[in-house]
Every structure is written in structure tokens, then in C-alpha cells.
């Protein structure tokens, strides 16, 4: 991954959350407060306008800056969670204009750790983690098998989407949906859904 690809990932993510904003908001209205699509659209729009000036020189800086912007602009839980994930991802990368799939794997691990540390969610709690953790596992397996970035990110995106779909059957234990208890069953988690969009965006740009 180089700086251009990292920027392309963020632009593709902005496009995806904007295109899917209504769906994210509908999912959130069912078990939360119905602003997930609006908030992510606002946040990634700010990330993109931050890139429009002088783009940062390293992949790490691109992602740290994007994370800081999300923390500063979004609010709610999604701002700190996605913002901290991107910041941790960026901070775990070596400074340089390109990073290898192995280095990206280390960064993605750090991102998931940040989400779990801040939100306290475990797999099965019906959160971002339920898409992120399987995506990371699939990415790691692909990298271990010698796959390139395109194949590994495609595997991660598929796993994230399956993980997001699997949240439908779960009972929420974190965030606002947790107040519903068993009434949250039958609804796909909006955070896991947006996480799948972010991994799909990565796979899309990595495919070229």
C-alpha cells in the first residue's frame, strides 16, 4: 500500500458510506438512534477535505490524520471508535511511502485493539468487532498463505460482510442497542455493517 492507495481507500470509504447512508441510518433507527449514516457521511467528508490540501507524505500519516479528523468531527460512539482505529493503525505502521501486507496486518491488529480497548466489546456483542475481527483473521490467513494485498483485502472484505450479516442473530451487549436486550435480535448491527463497507472499499481500491 502506498500513499495514493491509502488516500483512495479513504475516498472510496467516503463514497460508500454516503451511498449507503440511508441503509445505515435505517439499521441504526431500528436498534439505536438513527444517525449512523449521517454521522459517518459527515465524518468521512471531513476526512476527504483534509486530504484535498497537501496530502501527507507517508501511509502512516494519512491514516493518523484521518483518524484524528473522525475523532474531531463525528461525535457519538462511531467517531472515537473509527477515529481511534485509524489512528492506531497508522501509528503501528513504519514511516515510509509504502507498507507491505505484513505491516498492514500489524496495523490492522492495532486498530482492532484500539476499538476493543475504548469500547470494551468482545466478539458476539453485536458491534464493529463482529465484522472487524473476522476480517482481520481472514486477512492474516491470506497473508500467511502468501497472498498479495488484493487477494488478502478481498478475503477480509468477504469475512467482514459475513460477520456483519451474522450480527442479525446476536443480542446487543454494548452501545445504545444494548438497552433493547433481546429486542435487538433480528436486526443487523449498523457498526458492523459500516465496518464491512470500509473493508469492501479497501478491497475495491487494492484490486485496482
Amino acid at each position: 500500500m502506498d500513499v495514493a492507495l491509502a488516500c483512495a481507500w479513504l475516498r472510496a470509504t467516503a463514497g460508500a458510506v454516503t451511498a449507503e447512508a440511508d441503509r445505515l441510518t435505517r439499521l441504526d433507527a431500528a436498534i439505536g438512534d438513527g444517525d449512523h449514516g449521517v454521522n459517518l457521511t459527515r465524518g468521512f467528508a471531513a476526512v476527504i477535505s483534509g486530504l484535498d490540501g497537501t496530502p501527507p507524505a507517508t501511509v502512516a500519516e494519512v491514516l493518523v490524520k484521518a483518524g484524528s479528523t473522525l475523532i474531531s468531527k463525528v461525535g457519538g460512539a462511531s467517531g472515537p471508535l473509527y477515529g481511534s482505529a485509524l489512528r492506531a493503525l497508522g501509528k503501528a505502521l513504519p514511516s515510509g511511502t509504502t507498507v507491505t501486507p505484513e505491516e498492514l496486518l500489524t496495523g490492522l491488529h492495532a486498530g482492532l485493539d484500539a476499538v476493543r480497548a475504548l469500547g470494551g466489546a468482545a466478539p458476539g456483542d453485536k458491534t464493529i468487532v463482529d465484522a472487524y475481527a473476522p476480517a482481520l483473521e481472514a486477512f492474516a490467513a491470506a497473508v500467511a498463505a502468501g497472498s498479495g494485498l488484493a487477494q488478502a483485502t478481498a478475503a477480509a472484505a468477504r469475512a467482514a460482510e459475513e460477520g456483519a450479516a451474522a450480527t442479525t442473530a446476536m443480542t446487543a451487549r454494548k452501545g445504545r442497542a444494548s438497552y433493547l436486550g433481546e429486542r435487538s435480535v433480528g436486526h443487523q448491527d449498523p457498526g458492523a455493517t459500516s465496518t464491512a463497507l470500509i473493508f469492501r472499499a479497501l478491497a475495491g481500491v487494492a484490486e485496482g
Binding site: D33, G34, G76, G79, P80, L118, R173, Y179
Partner: protein
């Protein structure tokens, strides 16, 4: 959706502009988005900062002023403020004696205030966080994000604000705030959901004869749906939930709080039922407050909060307060 707005995207900014125009005794920073009282910071005094999503007015901006908050940070509607806002407000009111953050227990509020408190610590500002989680409708806090902060937020801000006003130190102000929260329990009903300007439709739909019991203040659905019954029966159930959750051995402050679209005539009717039940149960009402204080946009509904108080808390409750949303003795 029918609302007195211009563009849904501008509602919070334009409401803050209006608040600034209506209350020249407040300072409203429209760029950084926070509200402070005139004369901040107060040298040598502990400052109180709160904040949360907009849509709960007069909470929190309407409680800025002598005897209560030093600053409030309004987020987007039903969305917590961002750390930048919170740290800017914290800096603006820190008089060198430290700052208490009053935070309602919602995932987003907790995270953003936590990030801001870390930034404040880096800058050498001492911050104590008082978490408000009085909503007993959330039963099993082991398997949820925990009980929500609702009506008791007003009591925490009033009583801790009075303690700060008389010159108590940071630990003492935070301690009384935590004690008020620990002594409080709330339960809410909704007859209909509020509509956020961005969504344009109600947060949930209820048939004409159904209500949401144990509802939160963001349009998030509650503990259960049930048929509408007479107010007396609803009050009985709410007070059962409250009295089961905590001990109220002696005297209480009662808050009957409208959620935005419930007329005062119904709030007073409900207060009468609350007073009757508490008399039956041997609980003495020392003070009471009836009105719209912690709202949820145009939700029709109400919450009932009981706070067990001692002499010290009552003295602080009675102390002068002068804010747009709460004023006595001033």
C-alpha cells in the same frame, strides 16, 4: 415532519445563535460550540462542565450560570459532543482549581469525555468525571452499556454546582455529584417518539393504544411495549421499579420531567399520583420540581426521578441558582 427550522443541517448552530441573542448573560462560542457563563473562569473555584447531544433542552446549555454549570458543550442532535469542544470549554472555565465533567452514561458521551479528559491531563488541568446513570429501566447492566443518565443529571448539576459555588475543592464537588447520582433512580414512559430534523420521521412508531415503558431520552425504544393504561397505574409501576432499585429511607426530591411534548397539566396530574403513592409508602417529599427539563425533542412522555437526600444535599439544592432553565433565590 413539521418543525420551525430552516435547514435540518443548521438547527444546532442556529439554535445556539438564538440562545446567545436571548441570553446576553451567557457567552456562546459559535465556532468551537460551547456555552459559558459571563465571568468565566472563576479564579480558584472548581468549574463544572457538562454536555451531550442536543435535543434535550434546557439540558445542558440552559443550566449554565451562577450556582450550576460553568460551561456546556452541545453536540449534534442526539450525538455526543467531540473532544475538541469539551477540551475548549474545559480550558475556558478552568480557574486553577480543577474541572468536574458531568457525563451521562451513554457510550458516545463516555468515550468523547474520556478522550477530552486525557487531553486536559496532558495540559495540566485536573479533571474529575461524574458519571450519571440513574435510569433503572435498564435492568441488567452487566450485559448492557449500563444504566442511562436521564433526569438525575439536573440534580447532579444543581447540587454539585452549588458546592462549587461555595468554594469546595475538586474532590468534594465530584464527591457530592457522585453521591447525588448514587441516591437517584428514574423511570420514563413515551406516548410517541420524537423526530430528529435529520431523520424527518419519528424514531419509532407506536399504535394509538400503545406506549413504550422504560424509554430513553434519544428515541431509543424502551424496556417493553404495553397498552396505555390510566396514569395512576403507570405511576404505580414506575415507582415500583424505582423503589425496587434503590433504598429511599427518608426524604426525597421528586422530579416529574416532561420529555418535550407533554403538557404541564398532565405532568401535574402525574405529580399528584406520585405524591399519593409516596405518602402511602412512607416516603417524605422534601422538595419537588415539575416541568420540562431533560427533554427528547418533541417526544410525548415523561420521566419520574427520585433522589434520596440528606441535610447537606437539601441545603445545596436550596442554594441560589440563576440559569435560563432553573432559577431561584437569585
Amino acid at each position: 415532519m413539521k418543525k420551525f427550522i430552516n435547514d435540518p443541517a443548521d438547527v444546532v448552530a442556529e439554535a445556539l445563535t438564538g440562545l446567545a441573542a436571548a441570553h446576553p448573560e451567557l457567552r456562546v462560542d459559535l465556532t468551537e460550540r460551547f456555552i459559558t457563563r459571563a465571568g468565566a473562569p472563576r479564579a480558584g473555584r472548581v468549574a463544572l462542565v457538562s454536555g451531550g447531544g442536543s435535543g434535550h433542552e434546557p439540558l445542558h446549555g440552559g443550566f449554565v450560570g451562577p450556582g450550576m454549570l460553568d460551561a456546556a458543550c452541545p453536540g449534534e442532535i442526539f450525538t455526543s459532543p467531540v473532544p475538541d469542544q469539551i477540551i475548549a470549554a474545559t480550558r475556558a472555565v478552568d480557574g486553577g482549581a480543577g474541572v468536574v465533567h458531568v457525563v451521562k452514561n451513554y457510550t458516545g458521551d463516555v468515550m468523547n469525555f474520556q478522550l477530552a479528559a486525557e487531553l486536559a491531563a496532558d495540559e495540566g488541568i485536573a479533571v474529575e468525571t461524574v458519571l450519571v446513570d440513574d435510569d433503572v429501566a435498564v435492568r441488567d447492566s452487566t450485559w448492557t452499556a449500563g444504566r442511562r443518565g436521564t433526569g438525575a443529571t439536573l440534580l447532579v448539576e444543581k447540587i454539585a454546582g452549588a458546592r462549587a459555588a461555595e468554594g469546595a475543592d475538586l474532590a468534594a464537588v465530584a464527591a457530592v455529584g457522585r453521591a447525588v447520582n448514587a441516591a437517584s433512580a428514574s423511570f420514563a414512559y413515551a406516548l410517541s417518539a420524537g423526530t430528529t430534523p435529520a431523520a424527518g420521521r419519528p424514531g419509532f412508531d407506536l399504535p394509538d393504544d400503545e406506549i413504550e415503558a422504560g424509554v430513553g431520552i434519544h428515541g431509543e425504544p424502551g424496556r417493553r411495549r404495553e397498552k396505555l393504561r390510566p396514569a395512576r397505574a403507570l405511576v404505580h409501576d414506575a415507582l415500583d421499579a424505582i423503589l425496587d432499585a434503590k433504598e429511599f429511607p427518608d426524604r426525597v426530591i421528586v422530579l416529574v420531567n416532561g420529555l418535550g411534548a407533554t403538557p404541564l397539566i398532565e405532568l401535574y396530574l402525574v405529580y399528584g399520583e406520585v405524591a399519593a403513592v409516596l405518602a402511602d409508602r412512607g416516603v417524605t417529599i422534601a422538595r419537588r420540581l415539575v416541568g420540562n427539563y431533560v427533554t427528547s425533542l418533541d417526544m410525548a412522555g415523561l420521566s419520574i426521578t427520585l433522589t434520596a437526600v440528606d441535610d447537606e444535599m437539601l441545603r445545596l439544592w436550596d442554594a441560589p441558582v440563576n440559569t435560563p432553565g432553573l432559577r431561584w433565590g437569585a
